[in-house]
Symmetry: C2
Subunit: 226 residues, 2 copies
DNA sequence: TTAAAATGTTAGACGTATCTAACAAATTAA
DNA sequence: TTAATTTGTTAGATACGTCTAACATTTTAA
């Protein structure tokens, strides 16, 4: 007789990594294709193919041959739970352990798989139930609720729309100094005048009707909402 | 063409767990037998057998059929590095994260496999380069050096030898209260008069020439040295 | 609109870590 | 000292996560 391990809702470390990637890569268009996943996870397409069959059986994704992969509600819940742990870990490493924000990702990638609610609840508590991680990404709560889903990096905002700067996804002094030079700060409203296809730079008009240009590199580190 | 992963000194998570157990179980007699390991690691003997062949190939252990398993210097170094991470993690969970010492073991069991020197160096630093974990176990330094290798639980001390109490491996109030009742405290010297084979209890003679008996359960939580 | 290119799937293999069943050696006890 | 018991090993199987090679479908471009 043979009893399956992991018959409960849990996923193996590998499955956790897959659903996390499926979720984030499908955020933009609602689905993700095999080759994209393979690239992200550094495996070959057949590996993704067989894992998707497995996750489809678990009802974490919807997957039909030659069609894109979609996350189910169940899969979304899994993904958000891992993303929550990842982002809490990152913030903990930066705020409590005083590691640099550029070096915490790989460690958080490992910590996110630690199986212990106590551990994460304490981190959450020590951090004061934070809503955003050090990169400005929102942290889902225990129920997978994300506060303010609508934040997007400035480079993804539409042209001719006025947006409000709500956070920056970089807390290095040089970056913040640069924003000050441009006269940009949190709370400020700006009109996205033009996005250059060639180099991804963005032309803004500030409240004071001053036109200014920022590079793609800077734009993607400024989080805005409409 | 096939390139082996882990051709360097690193071990898989599984190998790490095996060498750690081999090391600790062989501490007392210098070696450990297959069935003991199987019990500790919750696997069947053939699994241990094949893993020992593998670790012998890596020169982490010395292993001949039907003979006990011995750790090599290389294996010891591996084991100590994992034990160091485990004990640092435990102390961090208790001192910094304020978790109870009875609940940190399972979390530390997971954290010990986190691959990041930065992470452990910061923990070490935050804790002030501690020498002992919350259970009184010594923490090896980065080079595997253990301060005071000679501490043993009282129940392992020889009869008719005077030993000094140097630490307790339990910080629960009820336990410490019990020691106070018996008049035992850290720094105290006691003579091990007799160890009862039947129930493992130990009869001591204190400095004040008072004879007292402590149970096995208590004796194994008192750390002494000659 | 059809041929070429890109993308996806199937089949079969492999290494890791595990198991059970059968057998072998060592230890213990009669 | 030999038989019983305990302990250890071998052989062969399985699940997982991965691969390559061959084939299938879809998309793109001529």
């Amino acid at each position: 007789m043979l009893f399956l391990i992991e018959n409960d809702g849990m996923g193996s470390l590998t499955e956790e990594n897959y659903i996390k990637s499926v979720y984030s890569l499908s955020q933009a268009t609602g689905e993700v294709i095999v080759s994209e996943l393979a690239k992200k996870l550094q495996v070959k397409p057949p590996t993704v193919n067989s894992m998707m069959k497995k996750l489809a059986l678990k009802k974490w994704v919807v997957y039909a041959p030659y069609k894109g992969i979609k996350v189910t509600e169940k899969g979304k819940k899994e993904a958000l739970s891992i993303i929550r742990r990842h982002r809490l870990a990152e913030l903990f490493l930066v705020n409590v352990m005083k590691l640099g924000w550029e070096e915490v990702h790989d460690i958080a990638e490992q910590l996110e798989h630690v199986e212990s609610n106590r551990f994460y609840d304490r981190i959450d508590e020590m951090l004061g139930y934070p809503k955003f991680d050090p990169h400005g990404e929102p942290i889902p709560d225990v129920n997978g609720k994300i506060l303010n889903d609508k934040r997007i990096p400035l480079n993804q905002a539409k042209e001719n729309v006025t947006v409000k700067i709500v956070a920056v996804a970089d807390d290095k002094k040089s970056f913040l100094d640069h924003l000050n030079d441009k006269g940009l700060k949190i709370g400020e409203k700006v009109l996205v005048k033009r996005k250059e296809a060639y180099d991804g730079s963005v032309v803004l008009v500030s409240k004071a009707k001053v036109e200014l240009m920022i590079t793609h590199q800077v734009a993607e580190r400024i989080l805005v909402e409409e």
